[in-house]
């Protein structure tokens, strides 16, 4: 069962790379208040940077008039971050594996890999209005801790 709880925060930015720092600051602050440790916050906020960078670059094609929406919420034991753009979308299953020897020296293609490495779960959806939404989840307490305390 997924319980959606407050606090919820939504931030919309124009599609400019220099807003990414601001998103990182917000995510870091919010996750700190949820009790996530410094290291985990570092990695989660890098994953969020990647999602926002992709939304700006591939989704909204750096059109500063098009907004990227970032939503933070707490769903049960997970911090959930959703990043939505107004782009053409893509097929996430077609993305190459950056660890394959033939890809290792490629200068790009590691963003979704970063997100998968640093979050517990990432899922992609197309939104009805046209655009891509990526939903990223991170468990706030280690699973053992929860099992032990219940």
């Amino acid at each position: 069962m997924t319980v959606i709880e407050e606090p919820q925060v939504r931030i919309a930015i124009g599609s400019r790379y220099d807003h990414i720092d601001l998103i990182q600051v917000v995510v870091d602050d919010a996750l700190g208040r949820l009790g996530l440790d410094d290291d985990s916050r570092h990695w989660v906020s890098i994953a969020v940077r990647e999602a926002v960078a992709n939304a700006i670059k591939h989704g909204n094609q750096q059109d500063p008039e098009k907004e990227v929406l970032v939503e933070l919420s707490l769903e049960g034991e997970h911090a959930v971050i959703r990043v939505t753009d107004r782009g053409e979308g893509f097929d996430p299953t077609s993305v190459g594996d950056p660890l394959l020897p033939e890809n290792l020296l490629r200068p790009s293609g590691r963003g979704i890999f970063y997100m998968n490495s640093f979050m517990d779960e990432i899922t992609y959806d197309e939104i009805p209005e046209g655009g891509t939404r990526v939903t990223m989840r991170k468990r706030l307490r280690p699973k053992e801790a929860e099992d032990a305390s219940s």
Partner: protein, 111 residues
């Protein structure tokens, strides 16, 4: 992001400070490597001790720099990786591509 450049023992040492991330840090790193090559450098060492964050564009830029320098017959190596930067190279398996050193002196001797 700021990048200091200096010369030691025939090696150009680039010391970026801050984040190597999309839009700013990655561009600055590309320029710094480009300028070093234009100035005739063949051996380049990136001192990463001042770097807090490397996103996928940043690590991609490091790979580009590596390829460019190698293709010109030069060498690009890394020194003083903070643990979070070392983690990124582990996860992306780029640790198998780059030669890395704990100190600048060790790195310089290796060229």
């Amino acid at each position: 992001m700021k990048i200091e450049a200096r010369n030691q023992g025939g090696v150009t040492i680039l010391a970026p400070k801050g984040k190597i991330t999309i839009g700013v840090g990655d561009v600055a790193l590309r320029q710094a490597v480009h300028e070093a090559l234009e100035a005739g450098a063949r051996n380049i060492l990136i001192d990463l001790s001042g770097v807090s964050t490397v996103d996928s564009s940043g690590v991609g830029e490091m790979v580009s720099a590596y390829t460019t320098v190698t293709n010109r017959g030069g060498k690009l190596k890394l020194a003083k990786l903070p643990s979070k930067v070392a983690d990124i190279l582990q996860i992306t398996q780029l640790i198998t591509v780059f030669e890395t050193f704990e100190t600048v002196d060790e790195a310089i001797k290796s060229f």
